[in-house]
């Protein structure tokens, strides 16, 4: 039996129409899932009341374990246990330091293959297992349909890494409402959207990633004005510093994977203890490696990790410079990520900004809580409607002659954004061309990250230089790039084939999706039919409602066109054939494109009129 939650005034929904949404923090070390119930965001614990789910996956011959269960097996079977998979997302073998993983990694061309007892797995598939686990936890708490999820990513994630995250969600059967940046989610959790105005720094040091963002908040509007970071800096690196120090205290060489894993765990415990006490005394027996006796103080640890702390300070300076702000102009500093518990980090940032830090929400939970609040708002449950405007973290450019990068979308541009660029052919009768898109701030192609090669085909044959191809690069609100092209003189839409340099292409995703369905074909079909029916009904209602509201915008002929499409969609529902329903949905979509445009213009007019009235009242 479904239990009721308290809705915001006027937002109560009918039975079976609750708009449940979740927020997911897919972390390097731990992952969390949260939701808003009765107006309050809370972390959803698993059946053992654990809120932090270790981002660890273990592959056995016929079982997959995720979280705590996988951790308990990690020391016995490190080769089949994958941790810190987030660092492999959207990466190629050559980007990865294979020695930092106990697993057997393999070069699979556009992705890193991980050898397991269940064959070769990609980072996307491993992440999908973590997401499935989180989805299951949420389903146990919310005995109702879940509309979708907001998933957080580091602000510094590039296009390939964001795409990989979205692909993982797709494999896990999660509808992604939006990918949002972790720091932005933290700002939402701190309620910085309410009443606060000013410039805020979000300092996020997690298990494996670091990023710093500067947000400008005013009247419910969030703008990320600068972001910097390092996708390869986090608590793990501080562990590694202690690990090195520990190794220095052992005479025997540590060449055994299991022994190394044990030592790694010890290093992590020492780091955590240093948060509580000034000094940690180690007096520990390590089986084959013998006995270790040593002492580590906070000061000594600060000395050992000075180079890591410097990296965070340098990035902070760069972000301030990009934002054109001084440290003294910052109105608040939000601390996010478990690693900000380290006194070393707290005192450094306190001194740098010369103010108390915002750290009263649990730094491990704050991102997931903010994501849940954002998800709740996106599906329409919240009474306040702030607007979150994010930016693209790294510039997008294309390769030109001499392997020089021509920048087309500068970093920190507000999303969504699109830029057009004109290209021409250099040979008579040329019908195809290649566009290489890269991401990064450097001038040479080799110094930037290759994102994808787009091959344009179907250019009408003309003399060299006569064809003018306009290529539009669109980056959407998830920070994901799409490209379209048109030959201007003939209006021919050139077709585009994308070959991502990193991550999986659409064929690979399709294969994985198919193999992940373990249902019989008939079940699969009936489930797909049920889903498309729900979608069609929703669409029908939405268009009908839109017509009732804004019919006056349309000529009789247009209304007729839409009404016919509506009626056909309704009839197709009786026939119960998936492809037929889908086809009629597509037709209704085409028929309402112009109407949607007019409605959007009317919204703009209304918004502007509202603005004028507000000004007159002031």
């Amino acid at each position: 039996m479904a239990l009721l939650q308290i809705s915001e005034p006027g937002k109560g929904t009918l039975p079976h129409q609750h708009r449940n949404a979740i927020g997911i923090d897919l972390g390097t070390t731990n992952s969390l899932v949260a939701t808003v119930q009765s107006g309050v965001a809370r972390i959803l614990p698993d059946e053992n009341h654990k809120q932090l789910i270790p981002s660890v996956v273990h592959y056995d011959a016929n079982a997959i374990r995720v979280g705590e269960e996988a951790v308990t097996i990690q020391e016995q079977d490190p080769i089949n246990t994958i941790a810190s998979v987030k660092r492999l997302m959207g990466k190629k073998f050559t980007d990865v330091d294979a020695t930092s993983y106990p697993n057997l990694l393999k070069d699979e061309g556009n992705f890193v293959g991980i050898h397991t007892k269940q064959g070769i797995k990609s980072a996307v598939e491993v992440s999908a297992e973590i997401l499935k686990k989180l989805k299951d936890i949420a389903a146990q708490h919310i005995k109702d349909d879940i509309l979708g999820a907001v998933i957080t990513v580091p602000a510094y994630f590039d296009d390939a890494q964001r795409q990989a995250t979205k692909d993982a969600a797709k494999l896990a059967g999660i509808n992604v409402l939006r990918l949002i940046n972790e720091p932005t989610a933290a700002a939402v959790a701190y309620g910085l959207d309410k009443e606060v105005e000013g410039h805020y720094v979000i300092f996020d040091l997690g298990g494996g990633t670091f990023d710093i963002s500067i947000l400008r908040l005013s009247k419910g509007l969030f703008e990320v004005i600068a972001t910097h970071g390092d996708t390869r800096l986090g608590g793990d690196d501080f562990d590694a510093v202690i690990l090195d120090w520990l190794t220095g205290h052992i005479d025997t060489k540590v060449d055994d994977v299991n022994a190394r894993q044990a030592l790694k765990s010890l290093a992590k415990r020492i780091k955590e203890q240093l948060t509580e006490t000034e000094t940690v005394v180690i007096d520990h027996s390590l089986n084959k490696l013998g006995h270790i006796k040593a002492e580590l103080s906070r000061d000594a640890f600060a000395h050992l990790s000075a180079h890591l702390v410097k990296k965070t300070v340098d990035a902070t300076r760069l972000a301030l410079k990009d934002a054109n702000l001084l440290a003294s102009e910052i109105d608040g500093v939000v601390m996010v990520g478990g690693s900000t518990r380290m006194p070393l980090i707290q005192t450094t940032m306190q001194a740098f900004f010369n103010q108390d830090l915002l750290n009263d929400i649990n730094p491990d939970e704050v991102v997931a809580l903010g994501a849940a609040q954002q998800a709740n708002m996106l599906v329409g449950n919240a009474s306040d409607q702030h607007l979150l405007l994010d930016v693209i973290p790294l510039s997008l450019g294309i390769e030109t002659m001499g392997e020089i990068v021509e920048r087309i979308i500068p970093r920190n541009s507000t999303l969504p954004i699109a830029m057009g660029q004109e290209f021409t052919t250099y040979k008579d009768g040329q019908t195809a061309m290649m566009i290489h898109v890269v991401q990064g701030e450097r001038d040479l192609v080799g110094d930037c990250r290759s994102l994808a090669k787009f091959s344009l085909k179907g250019i009408p044959p003309m003399v060299a230089g006569a064809a003018k191809i306009r290529v539009t690069f669109q980056v959407d609100t998830d920070g994901l790039l799409s490209v379209s092209a048109q030959e201007l003189s003939t209006g021919v839409q050139a077709s585009i084939e994308v070959k991502p340099s990193y991550g999986l292409d659409s064929e690979q995703i399709k294969t994985m999706l198919e193999s992940s369905y373990q249902l019989a074909d008939q079940d699969k079909e009936s489930r797909a039919l049920a889903e498309v029916r729900v979608e069609a009904l929703q669409m029908h209602d939405m268009v009908e409602k839109a017509l009732a509201q804004d019919k006056d915008l349309l000529a009789a002929q247009e209304i007729e066109k839409i009404s016919v499409a509506l009626e056909r969609l309704k009839q197709s529902l009786d026939h119960n054939r998936r492809d037929e329903i889908q086809a009629h949905m597509d037709q209704l979509n085409d028929a309402t494109q112009f109407f949607a445009q007019l409605r959007m213009d009317r919204s703009i007019q209304k918004a502007l009129t509202g603005q004028e009235i507000k000004n007159m009242e002031l």
Partner: protein
């Protein structure tokens, strides 16, 4: 103008109900931008039809582009030239080229924060003067060709100011 998005043909000033001129009511621009995006941003269309999602994405993109260009004083001037069909190709006069070389040499030579800050202030004063001049040329004299020349110099000065700032930043970081 390089790399602008022209998918939808509406004058950028009209989008925000602003007069087509260089002098800008920045408060009104900000307020209108906010009001418009609050109503059409893709975040408001999560439960909408595909057609509405597409339109929301396209319009929000256009509004973002328009806002960025109007907000930036150089790009706003260039946009005014563009909609008046004035070419922005100009030859910098020799006097300015000589001055350019002097500035570059000075930037190269300065190794201390204080003189660099002073240099930066001087460039900013120059920039301010030129912006005022652009405003007069565009809004009062309607001398578009004159603007193209000033703009070319403005762009150089803006870049120079940035270079001085970058150098100061590096010196301070050491």
């Amino acid at each position: 103008m390089w790399g602008k998005f022209h998918g939808l043909s509406q004058n950028y000033f009209e989008i925000f109900q602003l007069p087509i001129q260089y002098t800008l009511d920045e408060k009104k621009l900000d307020a209108s931008y906010r009001a418009i995006l609050s109503s059409i941003h893709p975040d408001r269309f999560v439960n909408a039809t595909e057609a509405e999602k597409t339109q929301s994405l396209m319009k929000s993109t256009l509004v973002n582009d328009a806002y960025t260009i109007l907000k930036n004083p150089i790009q706003r001037a260039e946009y005014l030239l563009e909609i008046n069909n004035v070419s922005q190709h100009v030859k910098l006069d020799n006097a300015f080229l000589m001055q350019q070389m002097e500035w570059e040499e000075r930037l190269e030579a300065e190794e201390d924060v204080v003189p660099l800050n002073q240099f930066h202030d001087e460039v900013l004063t120059d920039l301010k003067q030129k912006f005022n001049h652009v405003e007069v040329l565009l809004d009062h004299e309607k001398n578009f060709t004159g603007v193209a020349n000033e703009l070319a110099q403005l762009k150089f000065l803006a870049k120079l100011a940035q270079k001085i700032k970058d150098k100061t930043f590096l010196l301070m970081a050491d």
